[in-house]
């Protein structure tokens, strides 16, 4: 146990991403309060946030270099460890944050809720997530998780005057609190088992326990339901559609991608390190949950008419696919998770960005029919939409294909043929509702009062960027696969 109040530069180096984010977050609060609010140029906050992300990018780049050169390195007595896994997820978070910020400016303006706190919260949430991915200590994990969660509660409810937004926030908060209560209850049991809050120690302790020890089971049950909630696995998914619909669209995208990614990071970490020895106990369960999740997500999406809800259900289904990677829990499975999440960032943000930009005289237009005849008004973006949908459906050579590809491979490797067949056939089901979107914007003619795309530079950049990456990853996936690969190798330990 190290001496009190010693905090070295190494520790700082490890913490850099979180620190930078917090600093910029506070910076935004201050500048917003004292400078920006006077000028009324709220987009400056966005610029500041992006600057913060730039710095983070540099830091993460450093980390990547260090990890590549000299492997993982820990700080703060091993309560935070930077390894390929953490770096990868930091990248994911940074990407999603950038996209979210870029999308937000116009959207929040249009909604009349364009305030500095919004961006600050985005950054704080990211800080929490980055620590979720890198932390190795129950307390760190718990507090960072809550930081993320709380920020999201607020972000979801940020449209204060919108009933839907309030409602979504409240539901999210109540259920979130409920779930994190269970989660932390499990944490407490874990602490009771190990007498330490450090994951590795816990892992050892659990492993030392007899097979299927009930204390461990209790911890496993409570923590896993907590996490299932976060990744919106069935039957803990109920919040997702409502929150996704009610929240401001950029936030929806952010929640659906980043928080899910973070929760998966935590989950993988927990299941592989803490419960690694119990894998026989949880794999079948995860398998069932994944199957049910895919089923419910896909089926519910089929008849959905609200775009955001449709995407919400689809994201539930995607969670199921990603979970399958953890079920297989072999190299290709985890690789699949990483690739899947990376691709998911771009395709999902892209889709949401387009949905978010869709407005009919100022009102957000979020129904499927609002897309009708989009091809006539914005052919370019219609093509992008098609790209995103194809990618979500997992049609090669789009980015989304590779994740599924790895997942299937992982399942077949472990001999889960039935699961694989189901997962594969659900691709066809999913294709059906993704093509409903394509059909709406390509094949059906618009109404006399069509919804228009209301975007600014940021939104456009985000859209084009997402499209470009979705296709690029599809055609030239090598680099991305390597990146994902690195994360896996460390996680597998």
């Amino acid at each position: 146990m190290m001496d009190a109040l010693t905090f070295t530069l190494d520790d700082l180096h490890v913490l850099k991403p979180a620190v930078v984010l917090c600093l910029f977050g506070c910076g935004i609060l201050l500048t917003d309060a004292f400078l920006v609010r006077r000028t009324g140029r709220r987009w400056l906050n966005a610029v500041t946030a992006l600057a913060g992300e730039a710095v983070v990018a540099v830091v993460v780049w450093q980390h990547l270099g260090d990890v590549r050169s000299s492997g993982a390195f820990a700080g703060l007595g091993g309560s935070v460890v930077i390894d390929g896994f953490g770096v990868f997820f930091n990248i994911v978070f940074a990407l999603s944050a950038v996209l979210a910020v870029a999308m937000s400016v116009r959207y929040m303006e249009a909604e009349g809720e364009h305030r500095g706190e919004y961006y600050a919260l985005l950054l704080f949430a990211q800080a929490g997530m980055s620590l979720m991915a890198t932390g190795r200590d129950l307390v760190v994990l718990f507090v960072s998780l809550e930081t993320m969660a709380l920020s999201f509660y607020v972000l979801v409810g940020f449209l204060r005057s919108s009933k839907k937004s309030n409602e979504a926030a409240l539901k999210y908060l109540i259920l979130g609190a409920f779930s994190s209560g269970l989660l932390v209850y499990g944490f407490s049991i874990l602490y009771g088992i190990a007498g330490s809050t450090n994951l590795e120690a816990i892992g050892k302790a659990v492993a030392a326990r007899p097979e299927g020890d009930w204390a461990a089971v209790l911890a496993l049950v409570t923590t896993s339901v907590g996490l299932f909630f976060k990744i919106s696995a069935v039957p803990f998914h109920m919040w997702a559609p409502d929150v996704y619909e009610g929240a401001p669209t950029p936030t929806t995208a952010y929640v659906s991608v980043a928080s899910k990614a973070a929760s998966f990071a935590l989950m993988i970490r927990l299941f592989l390190s803490a419960y690694g020895s119990e894998s026989a106990a949880w794999m079948p369960l995860l398998g069932m949950i994944a199957l049910v999740t895919m089923t419910v997500g896909n089926l519910a999406a089929v008849t959905q008419s609200n775009l955001k809800r449709l995407l919400a259900y689809s994201s539930v289904a995607h969670a199921g696919y990603i979970l399958l990677g953890l079920v297989a829990a072999n190299e290709s499975g985890l690789r699949g998770i990483a690739v899947y999440i990376l691709a998911y960032v771009f395709m999902n943000f892209g889709a949401f960005a387009l949905v978010g930009a869709l407005r009919r005289d100022g009102e957000a237009a979020e129904e499927l029919d609002d897309l009708n005849g989009l091809f006539a008004r914005a052919p370019g973006y219609t093509i992008l939409m098609a790209v995103f949908m194809l990618s979500l459906a997992g049609i090669p050579p789009m980015a989304g294909f590779y994740g599924k590809w790895y997942i299937f491979l992982a399942l077949l490797r472990e001999g889960y043929y039935l699961l694989a067949v189901f997962a594969a056939l659900y691709v066809a089901v999913a294709a059906y509702y993704y093509f409903r979107v394509i059909r709406a914007c390509w094949l059906t003619d618009g109404s006399e009062k069509p919804a228009l795309l209301d975007m600014n530079l940021g939104t456009r950049a985000a859209l084009v960027g997402c499209g470009a990456f979705t296709v690029l990853i599809g055609l030239m996936p090598q680099g991305f696969l390597d990146l994902a690969g690195e994360s896996v190798l460390t996680a597998l330990r």
């Binding site: 305030r115 929490g128 607020v154 926030a169 009930w214 089971v217 209790l218």
Partner: protein, 177 residues
Amino acid sequence: MLIDTAFFYALAALVLGSAVMTITRRNVVYSAVWLISTLLGVAGLFLLLGAEFLAGVQVIVYIGGIMVLFLFVIMLVPLQEESAQRRFSNQKWPALVCAGAVSAMLALIVVRGIGALDHPGSGDPLGPGSLSENSEKVGLVLFSEYLLPFELASILLLVAIIGAIVMSKARNRETES
């Protein structure tokens, strides 16, 4: 020892009893009051477990902070028609059944796990009168091992503050600009 046992059961009864009262009172104010008593009971348990500092925090933060917050909000909510309203939601019976079932399961797990969590020397808490030590130990651990969470907690609270402000502040023309 016997004293402790007696105290434990007494406090346990208090905690559970007032917890039940908390969730059954029609009037929110009563609920709040009962909650306070629950929290006090828990604080007592902390003392019993030799966590004086924690007990202090419990009393100050919770009863001093959170409950006040609650009471503030309760003031905002018109109580008169509130008290006229139904107390429980339509799903109370299925909910109770499920809760019962789940509790049975959890209880089963816990019972099967009896002893699993008992460590040698468990039950004999750090002796009384060691308050200063306790807070010192807590302080040391808090500022060494848990430095990061501690810092992070500040961010957490900052988020909470922002959230509370953003949410509870009425929209005024100023925000539109």
